[in-house]
Amino acid sequence: MASLAPTAPQGHQFRARAVKKLRPVAFLISPIGVLVLLFVAPLMILVIMSFRYESLYGFHTGWTLDNFRLLFTDPIYRGVARDTVIIASTAMLCQLLIAFPLSYFIAFKAGRWELPLLLLLVLVDELNPIVRIYAWRMLLGREGLINDFLMWTGIVHAPLDWLLFTKFSVILVLSTSWVNYCAIPIYASMKAINPSLFEAATDLGAGWFTRWRRILLPLAAPGVFVAVILVYIPLFTDFATPGLVGGTSSYMLGNSVADLMVTIGDWGGGAALSLLLLTAMAGISVLAYFLTKLNQLD
């Protein structure tokens, strides 16, 4: 039997200790393994593809920078990029204009309706996005519900063409997508505000605008930044919405990727554009993070 004095580990004792040390590692191997397999590996494949000729109909093979060069030189991409920035930014602004007052109401004025309203907000986005976008098509079309109503009440005498398959429809639909991801971070930062701050400001002579500008806005700003990070990227890279309700006039970079990969078969180009978008979005996130830090100063 083992003596009381400490000795060097024997053979079987050493194996036992090694197994004990490896057990936490073994626990981590499975999730890390999944992560590597399903996320990092495809990303690496994407990176590799972007630097190679991978077109189904092209003639070249091997490594190249042409994929990237084309993206920057072809004027089509510049136009698409400009449209994408306009559409995504307008939609983002509209979302904030909806989400900010909504969050304020739920955080401060809802009383016992606060939790049901939050639940409703989450449920709203549970619907499959394709189904939701199709519903908008039915609303906005020439024979859609809105045109029917407008003609029935006599406000217009011919159906409005610009409701569907225009930039307007894309912006409209994007404004209502992922609104809960926009509203909930703003709501969270508002909840962190002590309501007596508003009373203190009122006591010192502040009207509603001053309270909004000097108390609510600065303290809710971190939430707004998180909302922008969470929502701007999906808005920017979306292709389902412009595809279904955008028609030919609003072609966004997401559509470009889809077309490059699926329709044209230029996997190299598609990969390059994806990578570029990914990098741009990462850059925006970092920028937004530093802007949040800026809020700490007075």
Binding site: S196, E199, A200, D203, L204, G205, P218
Partner: protein, 378 residues
């Protein structure tokens, strides 16, 4: 250029406040002369905070009027009243420095930059926070936050400063320090202070006059001394300081006294308020007026035998809890300087004496609205 100094007088006239079915403040009337340190004192739910909020403008009275410096401000919004409030949780703006917090009210009034800077410095100097002017509230202790909240209110030179239990979150030592600080600041600025608290010792320390409230009704409005020595009912007597309540059965009436005979030379004398023989009154005697080791001053002495239930030695004095022959349990404070010999023990028989002049008759804790009582003549 200076404006005429605010008189800071506040009048509460027959103010009532109802929240749905609940009556929070019931027909309350009192007056606060300009520059006074006035407290509203009472247990939770007595209506003191609601009344304060009505003076500030955060609640509208259901009935009655709030008059500030001669003008009816009952329904004037809080931003437009010339009063400022120090909140229980301080309410400091976390994203601004101390200096910006204090200057907030001035900035809204669009005060010129140089004047604003001077007034902020002056306010910070009054509360002794100049050194920490560029810190943020998160980096301040509770007491320091308290002082910033005070400066932020005072810098506006309001007619009255309203304080809603501001010292509740501080530890005992800091609380006592801040009480004296507030008293000093009040003397310096000559602003009316309206203070709300449930701590009677705090109210007695700082206030020139106190309104004792219970269940939305003012029980008594008087100076600290008058509240202690001439409480108007049993509730006030019990709330302020310690009091001993004794029931006196009127066995006989003579020389303006009712006397209850207890045998063995024991008797209780109480002032005769016209109750007549075989009636009953309740009297209150303060613990320092009851004597156990020594004789009380006065002509007509009550004396009752009893047994010691508890002895609490407090250094300069001893607190004795005694069960009297009449059945009541009383508290007696005796100075240890007067003691010759050893401390009494639990179970020792004693004789408790007090002068009839030291006792006063009270009715049961009544809900009677009391007008302002005059100061006691010296």
């Amino acid at each position: 250029m200076t404006e005429a100094p605010a008189t800071g007088e506040i009048r509460i006239e027959r103010v009532t406040k109802r929240f749905g079915e609940t009556l929070a403040v019931d027909d309350v009337t009192f007056e606060i002369p300009g520059g006074e340190f006035f407290s509203m004192l009472g247990p939770s739910g007595c209506g003191k905070t609601t009344t304060l909020r009505m003076i500030a403008g955060f609640e509208d009275p259901t009935a009655g009027r709030i008059i500030l410096e001669g003008k009816d401000v009952s329904f004037v919004p809080p931003a437009k009243r010339n009063v400022n409030m120090v909140f229980q949780a301080y309410g400091l703006f976390p994203h601004m420095t101390v200096r910006h917090n204090v200057g907030f009210g001035l900035k809204i009034k669009k005060v010129a930059k140089t004047e604003m800077g001077e007034r902020v410095d002056e306010a910070l100097h009054t509360v002794r926070m100049e050194a920490l002017a560029d810190r943020r509230p998160a980096h301040l202790s509770g007491g320091q936050q308290q002082r910033v909240a005070l400066a932020r209110a005072l810098v506006n030179r309001p007619a009255a400063l309203l304080l809603d239990e501001p010292l509740g979150a501080l530890d005992l030592k800091l609380r006592k320090e801040m009480q004296l600080e507030l008293k000093r600041i009040h003397a310096t600025t000559a602003t009316t202070f309206v203070y709300v608290t449930h701590d009677q010792e705090e109210a007695l320390t700082m206030s020139q006059r106190i309104a004792v409230m219970k269940d939305g009704v003012v029980q008594q409005v008087a100076t600290p001394r008058e509240l202690y020595e001439r409480p108007s009912n049993a509730f006030v007597a019990g709330f302020i300081g310690t009091s001993n309540v004794i029931s006196v059965r009127a066995d006989s009436v003579r020389d303006g006294l009712v006397v209850m005979d207890l045998g063995e030379d024991d008797r209780v004398c109480a002032p005769d308020t016209g109750v007549g023989s075989s009636g009953e009154v309740k009297i209150i005697v303060r613990p320092e007026r009851m004597r156990v080791w020594g004789d009380p001053e006065g002509e007509r002495i009550s004396r009752v035998r009893g047994t010691i239930a508890e002895v609490v030695y407090l250094g300069s004095m001893t607190q004795l809890i005694i069960d009297l022959k009449t059945g009541e349990r009383v508290t007696v404070h005796e100075l240890n300087d007067d003691l010759k010999g050893a401390l009494p023990q639990i179970g020792d028989p004693v004789v408790v004496q007090w002068a009839a002049e030291s006792s006063f008759v009270i009715d049961d804790a009544g809900a009677v609205n009391v007008a302002v009582s005059a100061d006691m003549p010296e």
